[in-house]
Symmetry: C2
Subunit: 251 residues, 2 copies
DNA sequence: TATTTACATTAACGTTACGTAAAGGTTTAT
DNA sequence: ATAAACCTTTACGTAACGTTAATGTAAATA
């Protein structure tokens, strides 16, 4: 069976422009070219196109696909593994962006009703006090006065929605963390998930997320017995475990 | 205070090329141009640049930033809200990609040791049976035989790591869902988080994620009393609530 | 058979936000 | 006087095509 550009395009669900482009960059060349200049594709090209589209669906770049397909000994699995890391990093970036955008929106809304204010009073006082009493100084030294004040300002403007989310996050962190600790591996999937959740949680209080600040905060959980006590309440060693997990997560 | 390109660039941490580009597209024009052709910026330009960089950090496009800053009555909040939706969609895309890449890797690894096999036997049998006994037919009708078989194949190849993650996910879903139900709003943040988690869960069993399939599955939770019973165990109405949440999530 | 219709070709611009030369003029310091 | 440091414009490159534009060819119809 032989195909022209349009036939092949319809078969595979891509545009004719795409096929010409793939020809141009040498990713998929027709088996032969007619005397009239038409591109003619055969079965092996159909197969190759299928492969191409498979990797494309995974978000692999055409350049990389070309490499994968060019050498049969090429380690496709290693490529995918690396690709996966890239994707995860991208997701983190986007999550941070979302986090910051959401906070900006909340801020500009200036929302927070009186009823909310009362409701969150205790919650906020606690957190603020905890932040300030001891860590205020340390954090100030590490990340500057401005950061701390912005952080506190954010805290005071938490909306009802955010409050729900934050509370839910705290519960999730506790749950996942306790499971992760039993597994014992701070690099494992559960531990890393806990670190991820913890990052999301932080995002509600810190004006901007940074890996360094995250890792620093985790270290404080171990250095200060008040935090250690909180995390080790159910299972001793949890604070250290979380610090290790976050260290790997932010590495 | 007046600045040349380099001075301003150093002050704000951007390249001179960037400043020339911003001038070119009319985003940030110098207050005046010297007789020698040098760009000279004043204080108001410094302020404007700060604004620009702020929005840029949130991932807003220069075009959009221009619009935001061009009209003081322009609704920056609405823009951010829309921007947030775009980011969330992007995150979903990337999550789906990660999901699929991970499955491809797992597949090519062909991993799963004998010890794992024994460990997961019961778990898998349960799920397989549940899938097959009744839904097998329905799903087959809706999404085709191939999808079901691929789904089952994936299930049988779950690794230890994946098993942990899946189990943790299930617990999280239950937790978040129960909190969300009390809030009563399937469009609320908790409900949407539950839908998100549910998507991640699905990703472990379905060969490729699609919104339609997700929404369809949620509908089945309501249509079939066995699933309904499972979700409504603690709180009646949970299955319906989840379906509504997922309907909004996949809209 | 003449004409329309459908399909093929190449060439080239547009998309985003700059990085990176290249080629050259100006200011400042030595 | 000369070199170093600074400024300028112009223009190519990036990823993966979408979209005309201008034109040639094959198949279907009047």
């Amino acid at each position: 069976m032989e195909y022209t550009v349009q036939k092949l395009g319809q078969l595979a669900g891509v545009s004719t422009r795409t096929l010409r482009y793939y020809d141009q960059i040498g990713l998929l060349q027709p088996s032969r070219v007619n005397s009239n200049g038409y591109r003619i594709y055969g079965q092996s090209e159909v197969n190759r196109l299928q492969q191409i589209l498979f990797y494309k669906e995974l978000g692999v770049s055409l350049d990389t696909i070309k490499e994968i397909l060019s050498s049969p000994t090429f380690d496709a699995e290693a490529v995918l593994r690396e690709h996966r890391l890239k994707l995860i990093e991208k997701r983190q970036q986007i999550e941070t962006l979302i986090c910051n955008v959401e906070k900006t929106i909340a801020e500009s809304e200036g929302r927070i009703t009186m009823s909310n204010k009362e409701k969150f009073e205790g919650f906020k006082q606690n957190l603020l006090a905890e932040n300030e009493k001891k860590y205020g100084k340390e954090i100030r030294e590490k990340y500057g006065k401005e950061t701390v004040e912005q952080s506190n300002a954010k805290l005071m403007n938490l909306s009802e929605e955010d409050y729900q989310k934050v509370t839910a996050l705290e519960k999730q962190i506790r749950d996942v963390l306790s499971q992760a600790v039993t597994s014992g591996d701070p690099a494992g999937p559960l531990a890393q998930q806990a670190a991820e959740l913890h990052k999301q949680w932080i995002c509600y209080f810190w004006p901007t997320y940074s890996k360094e600040a995250h890792a620093g905060l985790a270290q404080m959980y171990v250095d200060d017995e008040r935090f250690t006590a909180y995390y080790d309440k159910d299972q001793p060693g949890t604070a250290e475990f979380l610090r290790d997990a976050i260290a790997i997560y932010t590495k």
